[in-house]
């Protein structure tokens, strides 16, 4: 049965959703702004017979995740930007070993230690790897609240279905804000499909080895191609996005996560002023809803990209839209959160093509 409606902070929503999605193992290292999540799981997991370990570092925690995944468990870790940087080696290994896990990143300002304010500057880090090698990390970017809970379930399912690490991308604001949420039906870990690759002692079968080292170049090439075929399948089947009032829109705002929440208010304001504006909100950042956005960018519509960074997702928008529509960009870095009025100004500027707020992208 789905849960009652509950009022919860985003970080706790992720934790509770993970438990209900059948995750019984969490390994992590404290970093602001996501500490509420490990704090929540530190009591919640033992309550359901699970294991919580505060590791000595992000490096150790992702490797504990690797061990638990190899042992067959639904397992997750979480961190914020600089901590995710340290996990990238482990994520690359797990991509190569085809081991499932969920990694939540509550993004903060960067580069380096940056600050602890909500930011979205880790789009490249999430979607372009960060670890070494030819691999992809499916990345889900919910806009908070109810969707945060649902995407945790989706993340674990994707991870198990495709045997891959999956990134859940939020930010400090989403982690802190209290919102109403109804959790989906809880999953009993014992009811999850059996995995035929895990390590549990080789009783009655041949021993298994899980590794990413493949010294012979043609053999590694074959492995790379096999992984690529899997990524192609994910790109074909798992794209997610949402739209708001796009039918008659003369301008499409492209934004994800917290930025999309701000943009939604700006769009309502614009509509009130008589301009047909709408939103295209990617939920999977990889695979990016390229085709879907491309098809919408027609009939003289303008595309306005708004990000809490200096422009990372905009590169995927350019790859999607090309020269089919004029593209405008407005981004605010450093953990500064623009108001809906700032975004409204940007959209006016894009409509007028006057270059006052944001800029037009030369493709």
């Amino acid at each position: 049965m789905p849960s009652e409606k509950m009022l919860m902070r985003g970080s706790n929503v992720v934790g509770e959703a993970a438990v209900r999605a059948g995750c019984r193992y969490y390994f992590g290292y404290p970093i602001t702004p996501q500490n509420e999540l490990p704090e929540y799981l530190s009591w919640r997991l033992p309550e359901v017979g699970g294991t919580f370990i505060q590791a000595e570092s992000e490096i150790a925690s992702i490797n504990m995740v690797m061990g638990a995944a190899a042992a067959g468990a639904r397992v997750m870790t979480s961190s914020s930007s600089p901590g995710i940087a340290l996990k990238q080696e482990g994520i690359s290994y797990m991509a190569g070993q085809e081991l499932p896990c969920v990694v939540a990143n509550m993004m903060r300002g960067g580069p380096g230690l940056g600050n602890i304010a909500p930011s979205a500057a880790d789009y490249f880090q999430a979607t372009r790897g960060g670890g070494n090698g030819d691999y992809r990390t499916p990345t889900l970017a919910p806009a908070g609240g109810q969707e945060l809970a649902e995407m945790v379930f989706v993340a674990f399912d994707l991870a198990d279905t495709y045997r891959t690490p999956v990134m859940l991308l939020g930010d400090g604001l989403m982690g802190q804000v209290m919102e109403p949420v109804v959790f989906p039906d809880p999953i009993d870990p014992a009811s999850l499909p059996q995995k035929d690759y895990i390590l549990d002692g080789c009783e009655g079968r041949d021993p298994r080895a899980i590794y990413s080292l493949i010294l012979d170049p043609p053999a590694l090439m074959e492995h790379n191609l096999k992984l690529q075929a899997k990524y192609d399948l994910i790109a074909e089947k798992e794209v997610r996005y949402d739209t708001v009032e796009l039918d008659d829109a003369e301008i499409i705002v492209v934004a994800y996560g917290t930025a999309a929440r701000i943009a939604e208010e700006a769009v309502h304001e614009l509509r009130a002023q008589g301009h047909a504006a709408g939103i295209f909100r990617p939920i999977t950042l990889w695979p990016y809803p390229k085709q879907q956005l491309r098809e919408l960018a027609r009939d003289g519509r303008k595309v306005a990209v708004f990000e809490l960074s200096l422009g990372q997702m905009v590169e995927d928008v350019i790859l999607s839209v090309g020269e089919r529509a004029p593209i405008y960009f407005y981004g605010v870095p450093g953990g500064v959160i623009p108001t809906p009025a700032d975004v409204t100004d940007f959209l006016h500027s894009a409509l007028a093509d006057d270059g006052k707020v944001g800029r037009r992208i030369e493709v």
């Binding site: 193992y25 390994f27 294991t51 370990i53 590791a55 000595e56 570092s57 490096i59 150790a60 925690s61 490797n63 504990m64 995740v65 690797m66 061990g67 638990a68 995944a69 190899a70 042992a71 067959g72 468990a73 397992v75 080696e89 482990g90 290994y93 070993q97 390590l199 549990d200 002692g201 080789c202 009783e203 009655g204 021993p207 298994r208 080895a209 899980i210 590794y211 990413s212 080292l213």
Partner: protein
């Protein structure tokens, strides 16, 4: 006496080893250490209940030789990976097999914290005082004066720092119950090493805490010695920095003579 009972198998290939040819150099300690681990698991009847983590180092392909479940860890992270496994399968015997660079340089933090948490894991620590796999660079355990490709004039304390005795460091922690240093040189020492590994596994199975057996192990290739000279160097030189014997034993087991 009838013909059927005339023969009894007294020596053979351990079931916990695959019948594979290893890539180890002639005279390398890794082969001996593999055999000891395999014999112990056979004798404990644990082959099918064991999950191992090989290192990044010369033993990176150990999963091709050991005949039980294994998962490769990134360089240095074996004990973090093993922690994840053991927490999911507390009833299994979990071991890591690690070189000195893996365990005591890049993986120092993972090593100390897994030991200090008292993870019920056994570490087989191959100390060959050199980076074997990458071609003979200085290891954290390289002894003073020992030549390495990155310490061509020999290790000097001021320039390179002193050799690290990680086993003694780990013994300080209350999470560790049994730590012994042995060498893979003579038959006598090798038999002693096997006894130590047995005891470590037993302590793990009894749930006592973290156990580690350090094995001083010859690397004739990178020491640029014959196998025989390599054994002699361990017995005469290396033991000065790493004296053999029990470093810590809180198992409470009575040793059978």
């Amino acid at each position: 006496m009838s013909a059927e009972v005339a023969y009894q198998k007294v020596f053979g290939y351990p079931e916990s080893l695959k019948p594979a040819q290893t890539h180890y150099c002639p005279g390398c300690g890794h082969s001996i250490a593999h055999r000891l681990v395999a014999e112990c698991l056979d004798e404990l009847g644990m082959r099918e209940k064991t999950i191992g983590v090989p290192p990044v180092g010369c033993a990176v392909l150990a999963y091709n030789y050991f005949n039980f479940d294994m998962v490769e860890a990134p360089h240095g992270r074996a004990l973090a990976v093993a922690t994840g496994i053991k927490r999911v399968h507390p009833d299994k015997l979990v071991l890591t097999y690690q070189g000195d660079g893996d365990l005591a340089a890049i993986g120092t933090a993972e090593t100390i914290h897994a030991a200090n948490r008292g993870e019920k894991i056994t570490t087989i620590f191959i100390n060959n005082a050199i980076y074997g796999m990458t071609g003979g660079q200085m290891a954290p355990t390289t002894t003073l004066g020992q030549v390495a490709t990155t310490a061509p004039g020999g290790r000097e304390p001021e320039r390179h720092g002193r050799p690290i005795d990680i086993s003694r460091m780990l013994a300080v922690s209350d999470g560790t119950v049994y730590i012994e240093r042995c060498s893979l040189t003579s038959v006598k020492n090798i038999r002693k090493a096997k006894k130590a590994i047995m005891k470590a596994f037993r302590a793990q199975l009894d749930g006592l805490g973290f156990t580690l057996v350090e094995l001083l192990s010859p690397c004739p290739t990178n020491w640029k010695m014959t196998p025989k000279a390599a054994w002699e160097w361990i017995d005469t030189e290396m033991v000065k920095t790493y004296p053999l014997g029990v470093i810590k034993d809180n198992t409470g087991y009575e040793d059978k003579k």
